[in-house]
């Protein structure tokens, strides 16, 4: 497809869409790419899009800038980017939008001019599980927090929300806090250290990507009474949860879905924009007023666990519970 056909109507189709992904060593990211490929196939069959041009490698910010430049050079019509930096891509995004390319930032909200964010609300995501934890503990108890990478924007946004929830409940005390870098093995190690030296843990709040390790450590410590654990909506964790439920009726956990499909959701938004649609008033919000918050697809809790589990248990490995907005949902953001 020729570049710069933003204003063109359906006549510009099929569109070429580029993807820039700057981090590969995680299951979440690979699933994001798979979702993108799957959804794009839908559009390809209708003749709306071409094969995706995917740039996916472990790169630093500068490397990602280069990825995006390469996409611009290849004349793509839209770029879906999962950014490695909040502001680092400003310049190249501006270049892209000057060239008439639609830029959609997924997963990470960025203030760049010319980009539309399609993300879930990270603070909201964290708040839900924190509130559940507080409720389970009856507003009182000693809590351990296992965070992701210190200094990472998503980590800070989430933990800020959690701290805010905890501060509204003075009975909650954070007795230990560790950074396990969204790494299951590290999560397991940090948690087992904390378990060995702390007694009387009532609850654990953790982010996704580490929760299985954290729970594994708790299981290995063979506690008399399980703490209330905030987990993750991932198959690996749910398998363990399933086992524990069978052994112990009281075991209680909670996982808020953080959908890798947000990338594919971004793709749907991009396609609508390429078709020349305009966003409705009030759809955009966020700090720079350029964000579409897609709904959090759901929550796995003790009540609906069996239902979810039945649905996903035959998936492979570390499947992340997912959600992609429907085409209708995407269209609903636009003026008809």
């Amino acid at each position: 497809g020729g570049g710069g056909s933003q204003q063109g109507s359906e006549g510009g189709a099929p569109y070429t869409i580029g993807v820039s992904n700057g981090f590969i060593s995680s299951e979440w990211r690979t699933q994001m790419i798979q979702d993108l490929e799957r959804v794009n196939k839908e559009y390809m069959e209708e003749g709306l899009t071409e094969e995706l041009v995917i740039e996916s490698a472990d790169v630093d910010v500068q490397g990602q800038i280069q990825q995006m430049r390469n996409l611009i050079n290849q004349g793509v019509d839209a770029i879906i980017v999962n950014p490695n930096s909040v502001t680092g891509l400003n310049q190249v995004i501006k270049e892209a939008s000057d060239a008439g390319i639609v830029v959609i930032s997924v997963d990470q909200e960025i203030p760049a001019e010319g980009a539309i964010n399609v993300v879930i609300d990270q603070a909201e995501w964290a708040r839900r599980s924190a509130e559940w934890l507080v409720e389970q503990l009856g507003g009182e108890g000693d809590v351990v927090v296992i965070n992701g990478i210190a200094g990472h924007p998503a980590n800070e946004a989430r933990y800020d929300a959690v701290k805010e929830v905890f501060s509204r409940n003075p009975g909650i005390e954070v007795i230990a806090e560790a950074n396990a870098n969204w790494d299951q093995a590290t999560g397991q190690q940090k948690m087992s250290n904390i378990l060995a030296s702390e007694t009387g843990i009532d609850g654990v709040w953790t982010q996704d990507g580490m929760a299985r390790g954290v729970l594994q450590a708790i299981v290995a410590s063979d506690p008399e009474r399980f703490p209330v654990v905030v987990g993750e909506a991932r198959l690996g964790y749910m398998r363990l949860w399933h086992e524990l439920r069978q052994q112990d009726e009281d075991f209680s956990s909670y996982g808020v879905i953080n959908p890798p499909g947000v990338g594919a959701s971004g793709l749907r938004v991009a396609v609508e924009m390429l078709r020349g649609k305009e966003l409705k008033e009030g759809v955009l919000s966020g700090e720079a007023n350029n964000t579409i918050y897609v709904p959090i697809p759901g929550v796995v809790n003790d009540q609906n666990f069996d239902e979810w589990y039945a649905r996903v248990k035959d998936k492979e490995g570390e499947y992340v519970l997912d959600g992609i907005i429907s085409r209708e949902k995407a269209q609903s953001y636009f003026k008809q």
Binding site: S25, E27, A196, S197, E318
Partner: protein, 315 residues
Amino acid sequence: MKRPRVDPVLIALLLAAGLFALGSLLQPGFGSYDQAMNILRLAAFLGIVAAGQTLVIISGGEGIDLSVGAVVTLGAILVFRLGTGEAGGALLALAIALGVGLLIGAANGLGITLLKIPPLVMTLGMAGVVQGLILVVTRGELRGETPDLLAGLVSGSLAFGIPGVVLVWAALGLLMWLLLWRTPYGRQLFAVGANRTTARLSGVRVPAVVVATYALSGMLAALGGAILLGYTRQVFLNLGDPYTLPSVAAVVVGGTLLAGGVGSYAGTMAGALVLTLLTSLLTALDLPESARQIVYGLTLLALLSLYGRQRALRE
């Protein structure tokens, strides 16, 4: 030059004891038996992964293996994927994983000896290649299961609550001791690390020893991956990454000279223990992450000051 040599292994063990004591002073639960076993178990992972690193560093020639993290991940993934069914399947999967690790290590060794690529960048490049291979083969879908054998071995305890993996580690320690001190390979390895020209002129096939060493390192990293899998019971794309540089640190803290030719696996075991204790202690203490990193770095520096020092130019 007969210097009263302080035994690095002893120092490292004393340090470990000191850190443990300090931990129990600062944090009441830290001194418990459970915690001691927990730390031993965690140290075992680092220690097993660092076994190959020890051989590589002893082999000298700026030897270092930065591909261990990637190979750990690959080893775990292979066992996870292939090790279905009963014990026999698990052992076969383990054998395949070790074989693949061996091949990757041998490729490192060939690049280093035949093509004269500096070990640091050769193994770094190999880490990229292995990571790429993992992605190509799995496409991010990590299906499989953890063989019960491994899970039982690592998490189960045999006697006195000692985790099985610690016994595996001890057995590996014994094997490494035999390998280094009681086999022609071991003695030739030290010779190659101490002086390659002398070794060659004394009939040692230096390239063969070096290739064998990197191959062993790859194999031991794959073994580390399999054992780590027994702990996490699930593989992840970056499972081994956090072990690469700490494995080097464990070897050095254990008194093995980065210049090659001098060192021991007992030292590495003690070094792994010290580093694990340090991390555990810092996790247990209520500090912000920034302070933890600073303290970790400073402590590591202090450890290096004990015997990680090079000779003075002027004595």
